[in-house]
């Protein structure tokens, strides 16, 4: 079973779906045909099962990297405030994270995977595309793009070819740490 994909209401993403979605074929991946692409599009972006794509504004991406710079230089990067601002932005866009959601800053090394347990959304703050897989379907999130994942069909983040930086927003679950800067 594949999830349905849609752009979250009140967001504008440049580029088309054919740049983002790939279908499994043998050992590799290929671009979907038009009819396959149509079948992947959700009928309703409000459905809980839909994977909703969104993008964070440039000013927020700039602040993210400033915060990391401050952390690296002085140890003063304030991820908690940044996470609160991200939450506020998503709430303004009518895509509010769950009240008890936890925000994790995650660094994915080359060859490393990402823990997607309890994932509600993932935002790619790196420069390289971030890849998420579902059975037979691969989604590429560009820089600054994020997605709210399907509750019914959890995603898997496969090992990366390039290092990546992201914010994972998770439903609170046992064993998940509070927001922190350590990856």
């Amino acid at each position: 079973m594949r999830p349905a994909f849609a752009i979250a209401p009140d967001f504008h993403l440049s580029g088309g779906w054919s740049d983002r979605l790939l279908l499994a074929e043998g050992e590799g991946w290929r671009s979907p045909r038009e009819d396959e692409l149509a079948a992947l599009m959700g009928e309703s972006s409000e459905a809980e099962s839909a994977v909703l794509l969104f993008t964070v504004p440039a000013h927020m991406r700039g602040r993210f990297w400033e915060m990391l710079g401050e952390e690296a230089a002085e140890g003063t990067g304030d991820f908690v405030t940044f996470a609160a601002d991200l939450r506020q932005f998503l709430a303004f866009k009518e895509l509010p994270p769950p009240a008890d959601a936890l925000f994790d800053l995650v660094v994915q090394d080359v060859g490393g995977a990402v823990d997607t347990a309890g994932l509600w959304a993932l935002v790619n703050f790196g420069d390289e595309p971030l890849v998420l897989d579902w059975p037979d379907v691969r989604l590429r999130l560009g820089s600054g793009e994020g997605c709210r994942t399907s509750t019914e069909l959890p995603a898997v983040a496969p090992p990366a070819d390039d290092p990546n930086v992201m914010v994972a927003i998770r439903r609170e679950a046992p064993g998940v740490d509070r927001p922190k800067l350590d990856s």
Binding site: P9, H12, H59, F92
Partner: protein
């Protein structure tokens, strides 16, 4: 009847060099924007002669080329117009020229003229392409964003500062962050918001839908938060206006620019003139007839001021302003709603609140007050 001395002083002279516009915005209020007529040097001379002998010029004023896309005419036309203006200006007061433009035709010749004559430029741009191109289209339905962006780049390359006017529609209200990014990324440091108004042939506004006020409030509040937290200074006209209103409450007797006779003089490319809200020029009402009260070639200001039709209109507008002061708690800060909006929405100048009032005056005032209170609150 307002005497000449009780009219004006002239603050804004709006001259229509052509009714034509090279683009076709779906919210445009100009009824005649396919008409390629152009003003002649003779009419231009008559406009300047009329203006400076009218008795209305008692302080510096702005000459705004508008009511059509002014850059459809070449910069050389405005160079000649400037010479004519200077020849007729025996008032001793400075006249600042201003252009409101879609910027799609701005080239090096324009930039050189703008710099040489120290002309003020306002660019109409509705934000990033996905917002701008929804309404600001070519006649074939294509987007105009890229050409507007090129025009702004050209101005910036020549070191010309400009402000922008962004028309907010129902679509824009979900995108304060995207608008903020657009202004920052494109070096825009002076921003004005207009709301999509019901004016003239544009009889429906996307903002007239239920729930808009709350959406508008959320949009404007978030946009101001971004601006106030930004390292890049951006002046927002609505915030500055609200600050000014809060600091200097407007006297209840004062009529604002748009509701004071001949504080604004609007002249079309044939020399027909009007006053009050510039949007009234070229339009008429079933009860009022044409809002053009004369022609600069034949009608003196004295003649217009004694015209029963003008007297009746002035009285109606005055009653509207009085009612604003009687019924609206925002009136001491805004001075009364624009007559054009009252007429187009309510069919009567002697009325009060409009969509424009609710969004562009009341909400922006409320939000500005909240932000100022937060800034000025003593630290706990």
């Amino acid at each position: 009847m307002p005497a000449v001395g009780a009219s004006g002083p002239l603050e804004l002279l709006v001259v229509q060099p052509t009714p034509f516009c090279n683009i076709d915005c779906s919210y445009c209020y100009l009824p005649d924007r396919r008409n390629t007529r152009k003003i002649t040097a003779e009419i231009l001379e008559q406009i300047f002669a009329w203006t400076f002998r009218s008795g209305l010029v008692r302080e510096p004023f702005t000459l705004l080329w508008h009511a059509g896309e002014p850059t459809v005419l070449p910069a050389s036309f405005y160079e000649e117009a400037t010479v004519l203006l200077e020849r007729h200006n025996d008032s001793g007061f400075e006249v600042t020229q201003s252009f409101q433009t879609n910027a799609t035709l701005i080239d090096d010749a324009w930039c050189e003229f703008i710099k040489r004559r120290n002309v003020h430029v306002g660019v109409s741009v509705d934000g990033p392409a996905f917002l701008h191109d929804r309404y600001r289209k070519t006649r074939r339905g294509g987007g105009t964003f890229e050409k507007t962006l090129q025009g702004m780049r050209r101005l910036q390359e020549h070191g010309i500062d400009f402000n922008t006017i962004t028309v907010l529609t129902a679509d824009s209200l979900s995108y304060p962050d995207e608008l903020f990014d657009f202004f920052v990324e494109n070096g825009i440091r002076s921003v004005s918001f207009n709301v999509e108004e019901i004016e003239g042939p544009h009889v429906q506004s996307s903002l007239a839908r239920g729930g808009t006020e709350e959406r508008f409030r959320r949009f404007y509040s978030r946009f101001l938060d971004l601006v106030l937290a930004s390292k890049e200074p951006i002046e927002v006209r609505e915030f500055s206006t609200a600050q000014g209103g809060i600091a200097h409450r407007i006297d209840a007797e004062t009529r604002t620019q748009e509701s004071r006779p001949f504080a604004i003089l609007n002249v079309d490319c044939e020399g027909n003139f009007s006053t009050y809200s510039p949007e009234l020029l070229g339009l008429s009402g079933p009860r009022h007839g044409s809002f053009a009260f004369g022609n600069v070639a034949r009608d003196s200001l004295d003649r217009v001021l004694t015209d029963p039709r003008f007297i009746a209109l002035d009285e109606e507008i005055r009653r509207g302003v009085e009612r604003c002061h009687e019924t609206c708690s925002y009136a001491p800060y805004c001075g009364g709603g624009p007559p054009g909006n009252k007429f187009f929405e309510n069919g009567d100048f002697a009325t009060t609140e409009t969509l424009s009032c609710r969004l562009h005056k009341q909400v922006t005032f409320d939000v500005a007050l909240t932000k100022l209170e937060r800034v000025m609150a003593p630290a706990s």
